[in-house]
Each structure stands twice: as structure tokens, then as C-alpha cells.
């Protein structure tokens, strides 16, 4: 009887082992599946006749081959890898955008300033002026397009955040549900619900691709999931939802809200898709927008302040070249050309110099710059009525200046001062003069006593203007290409740092490209490193938990043979029984 029992126990155990092997084979491609193994043990022996007789085999447990430490490592690296992968995807889009020759501001600026030089070469040429307007328009459009593109990346970040949050909520709900089932399943038996545990681990793994999580195992078998600074996502059988909230200061920015009152927890979240989205927005998209806006604003104000100094082809005051100039302030999104008529480009300086016909020396005077930054500067009346007269006095070795009825003088020694630049706006003129001429001039040559110059407005009191071939303001505009007019932005505040300007327009764009490229490059390299780590950890994890078909084939043979042998026990038991029964 006991032999039949032993045979039966062996048959049942082998069947169990065979079916577990079959389970392993059938789940070879199931994500998150850990191979299972039937642990066998001898049954309680029978005590008979002072001896213990073995009573066969029984399944002691069905084990899940699983390493908690490796599983946790896989989760950690998944979060980090996914964060960098998301970052890299978005950053390389910005990188592509800034580097593409069709959209690059670098070539836009170049085209514009080349056109300015063409106008300086031929100030009266309407076609050259038209080209300058077209190039300026193209430049403004490039700013607009960049802004639109960066804005669309921002919206993509918002959409992706929303999708990620939805997914996180589904996953945490799934984990909570599984917790419930696992608690119930574990309570009623000593065995572990291996497949349910696998499913839960798989969900947690998937969750870690969206956000960094930490797990705390409970005694009842439930796992609590925490994110950020300890915000619970899953507690036992219940889950807490994340949501999307809009930044109250900028409603175009989505942030991650937590719990029923949707507290903004964005700043505390790291890892995974959500961490990647938040960090790429903060480190790449936001700074790029700030830089481009600052560049646009700087260009509008710098070009306008030079352009408004000048006189147009028709003899009118040069207006603004780019808009807008007031509220809203200029940025990459709203910058546009303010001029339609090519004749309205102010290419001439508002003042002209006359050398006295009776000069006998070799002295020359050149107006370098007109300072139009004073409040209410009017290029039609750049100088007060009467203009400025300058006469050399060899007795004092100085030029005597007379303006608005007042006088001032500049010491000039031809031997050392020839070619020197003088800022007249810094000179104090005696009463009744109330201001100084807003000019910077160069004096050169050797003046004779009483040699004189007068500087007057290019547009006379009757509004007549003849100096249409004057290209000095165009040269000044063209010079702005290489002049350092912008200060660097503080990466923390996004506001310009103090001190003198250190960047030209092109420099500023170059720095932006370099920053984005460096960040993208870093993210690429970091992502590859994390990918490598993740692959290695997964390999180790899989080498513990993964199904190997050859191994399972061998197990199949092994358990099949055991089953066949157990059958023979039954047969033998039958034969023994038959021999016994037939003896009667």
C-alpha cells in the first residue's frame, strides 16, 4: 500500500515539476516573469517496526527565483536612464533647431549685416535698401520661428507630462490593486503568489521608467511606493493620484500636482520620463528662450538707438527699425520690422561739417558718432540753432568751441593729438549754453591760427536735406555686428549680470548654441553610460530570474524520466500485488 502511495507521491510531485517547467517555458517571453522552481522534500517517514520508512516525496514549495537587490538596482538605473533619454530627446531637438542652417540666427544676423554694408556702400541705392529690409525681415522671422519652435517644445513637454502623469496614476492604481490581491492570497496559505508578485514588480518597474520610486515592503506582503521627498504614491491597497497643475505665474507651463489638493511637487521629482521632462525644460528650453529673448530685446534696443540718430533718404528723422519698443517689451516672439519703405532707412548722420574756405593749415575734423541716447533726441535738431563752431587758437594751443552762445576749449597739440577722439558731450560750455553738442569728433592735422570748422544740422531749418549720399549712420549700424553690446545672462535668475557688455549679437548666439550643445552632449554620454549600467544589471538580474530554454528542456527530460520511473513504481506495486493475489 505504501509503495503505491510512494509512487503516487512521486507521480504527483513530478507532475508538479513538469507543469512548473511548462509554466516557465510558456512564459519565456513574458515581461517581468521570474522563473519558478518546485522545491521537493521527503514526506514524513512512517515509523514501523522500530524503523522509519520513507514515505515518498512531496512538493514543499514553488519558489520564485528572484533577487530583491538586483531588482531594486534595475529600477534605479531604469529611472536614471529614462530621465537622460527623455532629456536627450528634447535637448537634441533644440540642438538641431539652433544648429540648422535654415533657422540659425547666426546666418540670419550675417545676412542682415552684409546687407547693411551694401547700403553703406551705396546709400542712395533703393535696391540695396530693399535687400536690407528683406534681410531684416528674414532675421525677425527667424527669431519668431525659433520662438514658436521653442514654445512648441514647451507644449510637448506639457503634453508628455500629462501623458506620463496619467500613466503613473494607472500604474499606481494597478500596484494598489495587486497589493490587495497579494494580501488576500498570502493570508490564506503558506505559499507565495509568485505570478502576482512578478506582476507587481513589473508594474513598479514600469513606474520607475516614469519617475524615481522607493519601495517599502509591509509585513502583510503589500509594498508601499514613495516618490520625490517621500510623497506616498501607493499605501497598501490605496493609491494617491498625481495631477497636472498650471504654473500660476505662467499658465503655459504644466507642473506636477500631488494628491487631492494638487500641491505642486515638480521641484521634488527626479528620475524617469517626468524627471527628464522637468529637467530639460529647466536646463535647456527655458534658458534657450531667455537667451533668445534677451538677444532679440538687445538687438531691438541697440539697433533702434543707432537708427533713430540718423536721417532718412527723404530728410526725415530715422524712426525705430524694429518693433515693439514699449509694452509689451520686445522678445523673440514679437520682434518685427518697423519700416516698410526702403527710403525710411536712416543711413545719414544728422550733422554735417563745413571747413572754412580760408583755412591755411592741414587740420581736418570728422564726426565719429552722434549720441542719440539723450531723452527726446531729435535728429532734425541734433544741434541747437546756430550749430557748433570750432576755431584754432595757436596762442593757447587749443580749439575754441562756441555753442549756444557759450564757449569751451579743447587743448590740441598737433604733434601728439592728431587723430585723437574727443567726446564733446562731456565738455562743459559756459553760460548761456545749457547743453553740450551730442557729438564725438576726431581732430587731425596741423591747424593754423584761426583755422575753423562749423558743424550744423544736415537738415536745415526749412527741412531741406541734400546729404543723401551720407553713409555714416549705415557704417555705425554695420559696426554693431562686431560691437560688444550685450551682457551675459545669469543662468540662475535669467537676468543680465552687471558690468560692461561682453558679447556681440553673434557671440551671444554662439554661447547659446554651445550651452545647449554641451548639455545635449552630456545627456547623450550620460544616457549611454546609464544604458550600459542598466544592461549589465539587467543581465545579472535575468541570469538569476530569466528563463533559459535549454535548462528547461533539460528539466523537462529530467522530470519526464522521474515521472516514468514513478509510473514503474506503480507498475511494480501492481505486479507485486498481482503476484500476491494470484497466489491465493
Amino acid at each position: 500500500m505504501s509503495m503505491l502511495n510512494i509512487g503516487t507521491s512521486a507521480l504527483i510531485t513530478s507532475q508538479g515539476a513538469l507543469s512548473t517547467t511548462g509554466h516557465n517555458i510558456s512564459n519565456v517571453n513574458t515581461d517581468g516573469y521570474s522563473r519558478q522552481r518546485v522545491e521537493q522534500g521527503t514526506r514524513i517517514p512512517n515509523f514501523d517496526g522500530g524503523q522509519y520508512f520513507g514515505s515518498g516525496v512531496a512538493v514543499s514549495s514553488v519558489e520564485r527565483i528572484f533577487d530583491t537587490f538586483l531588482s531594486e538596482q534595475v529600477r534605479t538605473f531604469t529611472s536614471q536612464e529614462q530621465q537622460l533619454a527623455t532629456f536627450s530627446t528634447f535637448a537634441s531637438q533644440v540642438d538641431d533647431l539652433l544648429g540648422s542652417p535654415e533657422l540659425s540666427l547666426s546666418s540670419g544676423l550675417q545676412g542682415f549685416f552684409d546687407a547693411v554694408q551694401e547700403v553703406a556702400d551705396d546709400p542712395t541705392s533703393i535696391p540695396a535698401r530693399q535687400v536690407m529690409l528683406t534681410e531684416a525681415d528674414t532675421l525677425a522671422n527667424r527669431f519668431n520661428t525659433l520662438d514658436t519652435q521653442l514654445d512648441s517644445y514647451n507644449q510637448q513637454v506639457n503634453l508628455n507630462l500629462e501623458a506620463a502623469v496619467k500613466e503613473v496614476n494607472l500604474l499606481s492604481k494597478g500596484i494598489a490593486d495587486l497589493n490587495q490581491v497579494i494580501i488576500e492570497a498570502s493570508a490564506s496559505t503558506t505559499g507565495t503568489p509568485n505570478d502576482l508578485l512578478d506582476q507587481r514588480d513589473q508594474l513598479i518597474n514600469e513606474l520607475s521608467a516614469y519617475i524615481s520610486v522607493s519601495i517599502i515592503e509591509q509585513d502583510n506582503g503589500a509594498q508601499n511606493v514613495f516618490i520625490g521627498n517621500g510623497q506616498a504614491l501607493v499605501v497598501g491597497q490605496s493609491s494617491i493620484d498625481l495631477s497636472i497643475v498650471l504654473d500660476p505665474t505662467d499658465t503655459t507651463r504644466a507642473e506636477v500636482g500631488y494628491g487631492p489638493s494638487s500641491i505642486n511637487v515638480s521641484s521634488q521629482l527626479t528620475g524617469g520620463t517626468i524627471g527628464g521632462l522637468l529637467s530639460v525644460r529647466q536646463d535647456v528650453i527655458d534658458p534657450a528662450r531667455l537667451e533668445i529673448d534677451a538677444l532679440a530685446a538687445g538687438m531691438v534696443s541697440t539697433l533702434n538707438s543707432q537708427h533713430t540718430v540718423g536721417i532718412t533718404l527723404n530728410g526725415n528723422a530715422g524712426g525705430n527699425f524694429f518693433e515693439p519698443t514699449g509694452t509689451p517689451t520686445a522678445d523673440a516672439g514679437n520682434i518685427r520690422l518697423a519700416i516698410i519703405d526702403p527710403r525710411d532707412i536712416a543711413v545719414a548722420f544728422p550733422v554735417s561739417t563745413t571747413t572754412s574756405a580760408t583755412n591755411t593749415g592741414t587740420a581736418a575734423l570728422e564726426v565719429n558718432a552722434v549720441d542719440g541716447l539723450g531723452a527726446g533726441f531729435d535728429p532734425l535738431n541734433a544741434l541747437s540753432a546756430g550749430g557748433l563752431s570750432i576755431a584754432y587758437n595757436s596762442g593757447t594751443g587749443a580749439y575754441d568751441l562756441s555753442y549756444e552762445g557759450g564757449t569751451a576749449s579743447i587743448a590740441y597739440d598737433p604733434a601728439v593729438d592728431s587723430g585723437k577722439v574727443f567726446d564733446l558731450s562731456a565738455l562743459g560750455f559756459s553760460a548761456p549754453a545749457t547743453s553740450s553738442p551730442p557729438l564725438t569728433i576726431t581732430l587731425s592735422g596741423v591747424p593754423a591760427d584761426t583755422d575753423s570748422f562749423t558743424i550744423g544740422n544736415s537738415v536745415d531749418a526749412l527741412g531741406n536735406f541734400s546729404a543723401v549720399g551720407d553713409n555714416r549712420n549705415a557704417l555705425a549700424l554695420a559696426e554693431l555686428q562686431v560691437t560688444k553690446t550685450l551682457t551675459a545672462l545669469d543662468p540662475a535668475t535669467g537676468l543680465p549680470v552687471g558690468g560692461p557688455p561682453t558679447q556681440s549679437f553673434g557671440d551671444s548666439y554662439g554661447i547659446l548654441v554651445a550651452n545647449v550643445a554641451t548639455r545635449t552632449h552630456q545627456a547623450d554620454v550620460g544616457q549611454q553610460t546609464q544604458q550600459g549600467l542598466l544592461d549589465q544589471t539587467k543581465l545579472r538580474f535575468e541570469s538569476v530570474s530569466g528563463v533559459n530554454l535549454d535548462e528547461e528542456a533539460a528539466s523537462l527530460i529530467k522530470y519526464q524520466q522521474a515521472y516514468q520511473a514513478a509510473s514503474q513504481i506503480i507498475t511494480v506495486s501492481n505486479t507485486v500485488f498481482n503476484s500476491l493475489i494470484n497466489s491465493f
Binding site: 543723401v468 549720399g469 551720407d470
Partner: protein, 401 residues
């Protein structure tokens, strides 16, 4: 270490995909010829490229500017050369017109030709460039510099600069008043004091150089000069005595033979001097246009006011025309030196642009030899991966069950 069947499958697949990505990138590099496809491929290199491209493009613009500047200078040089030719012919005619052997009809004919030439000269001064801008009116490109022969300069002093290099501005025009206007010398003699019964006179029969006098020459009658009176001549520093009496009327004296310090001027003394007689010879220097100078000469020719007996300013005419010519030639020299400067700057810019292009190419262009060998290597390893994948995946114990 045991391996998981599905994971090995996945990993092999991922490895092949990565190799395909790398291969695709190399292929893109080969087909574009660029080493850097995105700025992130080489952040510092790509910023260098941006800067180099900017430099390169700026230099190309300087070269284009230099062409324009050269073009403008060439037009100006052409106009100035024609003006020089015209002025030389005018001076020849003037010399011819001053010749005593001319009849009045000869002079009228010469005057007619000179007027013609003067008109041509005026037209040259009003030359326009290809844009229709007046070349010689400064910034007032739409205003003709000289409306008429005797008209004043209507332009301004503006000199348009063109940028032909970093920090190198070159003037591309000369205002008309600096080109066509020059110092105009007219020497005149006046009788400042006339004594009782005086019939004396003085004329400048030839002022060889038409020199500008540094100080007026003062002739004062002095009866004490032996043998029968004469003039004391002083220019303030040098004093000489010239014996003269009514009998000497028509006496020509070259002043420089009296004292080398005196100007080379021949004066003709006439009539009977009286006590207290005094003459002054002085030059007045003004600036006027060459058209006006020539026109004045033409008028003098037509009115028969030149020649030995009635040409007080014969020398001045030639001097003034010569001064105009010198002025034009000086301007031509300026234009020539600017053309030289343009050429030199162009050489510099060509060199710079060559170097920039070379550096740019070193940074952004692909090393084809390296890229092709990389492409071959990547293709080979992808093929190997594919073949071994198929082989390894065929291995299974189940095949033998």
C-alpha cells in the same frame, strides 16, 4: 553564468540596432561630407565653426566692399584723367593765346575752343556713377556740384567711407571743392599816391612765376637817387633803388636782377614821376573754381586784354591754370594711393579668407579616409552580428527532443 534566453535575444537585437544607428550616422557623415552633424556632436567645435563662418562671411563682405570701392575709384580716376587731359590742352591754348604774335581773331578762335573745353570740364565735374549719384558733390549725391561755369560749389564736404577690412575705412570720393577749386592768385599794381603833375605808371609786364608775394612791393619816388631820381623799392625786408626818369619811360626791369630776394617779376615803368608818387604791387589769394578761372581768361582773350602791353596778369593766368592742374593731379595721386590700399587690403583679406576656409574645413569637414574605413568596419561588424545572431538563435536543446 546562466543566461536568460529572451534577454539574450533582446540584447543581441539592441546591439544590432545600435550598430545600425552608428552605421547610419557614419553614412550621413559620408554623404554630407561634414564631421559635425549636430552641434552636440562637438560643442566647442561647432561654436568655433559659427565664429569662423562669421569671420569668413565678414571677410567676403569686405572683399565685395573693396570691389565697390575700387569701382568708384576707377570711375573717379577716369574722370580725373580726362580732366587732366583737358586742362593740359587748355594750358597749351593759354600759352598760345598769350603769344604776342596772335591777332585778335586768333585769340577769339582760341577763346572759342577754350570755352568748349571748359564746358567739357564742367561736365566731368558733374560726372555720375552707376547709381546716378554725383561723384564730386560729397554727401549731396543728388545735387550737381557745379550748375554753371561761374556757379558756386553746391555739394558738401562729405567723404563717404567704405569698410574694406576690420577697422579699415577707405574714402571713396573727393568733394568737388577740393578737386576743382584751388588757390587763385591775382597780382595787381596800384598807384597809391599821385604827386603833383605826375604821369607816372607801372605795369607788370610779366610775372614769371605768378608767385604769391609774401609782402607787398612798395615803390616810392625818391628824387635823390642818382643820376636823375628814381624809385625806392622795398618789400619790407629787402630795399633797392631803381634809377628812373621820364626819359626812361617804357623801362622793363626784372626785379630779381636787382636783388635775388625779390620776386622774378618784370615791371614796366612809364611816364613822368613826381615827388610823393607811390605804387604798390600786391597779390590777392582767393579760392575759386577752375571753370571760373578759365572763363576769366577766355573773357580776357575775347576782350583783347592779354599780351605784352595789356596783360597785367599774364603770369597769373598760367599759374592759376597750373595750380588747378596740380590740384587734379594731387587728387589723382590720392585716388591712386587708395586703389593701392584697396589692392593691399584685398590681398590681406584673400589671405585671411583662405586661412579661415582652411581652418573651417579642418574643423567641420570629414576625414574621408577615416570615415570610409569606419564605414567598412561598421558594416563588417553588423554583418558578423547578424550572421552570428541567426546561428546562435538556431541552437536549442528542443531541436533534439
Amino acid at each position: 553564468m546562466r543566461v536568460s534566453t529572451s534577454y539574450i535575444f533582446d540584447q543581441n537585437l539592441t546591439a544590432m540596432m545600435n550598430q545600425q544607428t552608428e552605421l547610419g550616422k557614419t553614412q550621413l557623415q559620408v554623404s554630407t561630407g561634414k564631421r559635425i552633424l549636430n552641434p552636440s556632436d562637438d560643442p566647442s567645435g561647432s561654436v568655433q565653426i559659427l565664429n569662423l563662418q562669421r569671420e569668413f562671411s565678414v571677410t567676403e563682405q569686405y572683399l565685395a566692399n573693396a570691389d565697390k570701392a575700387e569701382n568708384k575709384q576707377a570711375i573717379e580716376e577716369g574722370a580725373l584723367q580726362s580732366a587732366t587731359d583737358l586742362l593740359q590742352r587748355i594750358r597749351e591754348l593759354a600759352v598760345q593765346g598769350l603769344n604776342d604774335t596772335n591777332t585778335q581773331s586768333d585769340r577769339t578762335a582760341i577763346a572759342a575752343e577754350m570755352t568748349q573745353l571748359n564746358e567739357q570740364l564742367l561736365a566731368l565735374a558733374n560726372t555720375r556713377d552707376s547709381n546716378g549719384d554725383y561723384l564730386f558733390s560729397g554727401f549731396s549725391s543728388n545735387t550737381p556740384p557745379y550748375a554753371t561755369i561761374n556757379g558756386a560749389y553746391q555739394g558738401d564736404e562729405g567723404q563717404r567711407n567704405i569698410k574694406v577690412g576690420s577697422g579699415v575705412l577707405l574714402e571713396t570720393n573727393d568733394p568737388g571743392n577740393a578737386v576743382f577749386e584751388s588757390k587763385h592768385v591775382s597780382t595787381t599794381s596800384t598807384k597809391t599816391v599821385t604827386g603833383a603833375g605826375s604821369t607816372s605808371g607801372i605795369t607788370i609786364s610779366s610775372s614769371n612765376a605768378g608767385e604769391e608775394l609774401t609782402a607787398p612791393l612798395v615803390f616810392t619816388y625818391n628824387a635823390a637817387i642818382a643820376p636823375s631820381g628814381g624809385y625806392d623799392l622795398s618789400d619790407g625786408t629787402t630795399s633797392v633803388s631803381i634809377p628812373y626818369s621820364a626819359a626812361d619811360s617804357g623801362l622793363n626791369i626784372d626785379l630779381s636782377t636787382l636783388d635775388p630776394a625779390l620776386p622774378r617779376m618784370t615791371v614796366s615803368l612809364t611816364g613822368a614821376p613826381a615827388a610823393t608818387d607811390s605804387f604798390t604791387i600786391d597779390t590777392a589769394t582767393t579760392t575759386q573754381s577752375m571753370f571760373r578761372t578759365i572763363d576769366q581768361f577766355v573773357k580776357a582773350l575775347t576782350a583783347d586784354q592779354v599780351g605784352a602791353n595789356n596783360g597785367p596778369n599774364n603770369g597769373d593766368f598760367l599759374t592759376n591754370i597750373s595750380a588747378s592742374l596740380t590740384n587734379i593731379v594731387d587728387t589723382q595721386a590720392k585716388v591712386g594711393s587708395r586703389l593701392n590700399a584697396i589692392d593691399q587690403q584685398r590681398e590681406i583679406n584673400h589671405g585671411l579668407s583662405f586661412n579661415l576656409e582652411k581652418t573651417l574645413s579642418e574643423i567641420q569637414d570629414l576625414d574621408y579616409a577615416e570615415a570610409i574605413s569606419r564605414l567598412t568596419r561598421q558594416t563588417t561588424s553588423l554583418q558578423a552580428a547578424q550572421q552570428s545572431f541567426v546561428k546562435v538563435q538556431g541552437l536549442s536543446l528542443f531541436n533534439f527532443l
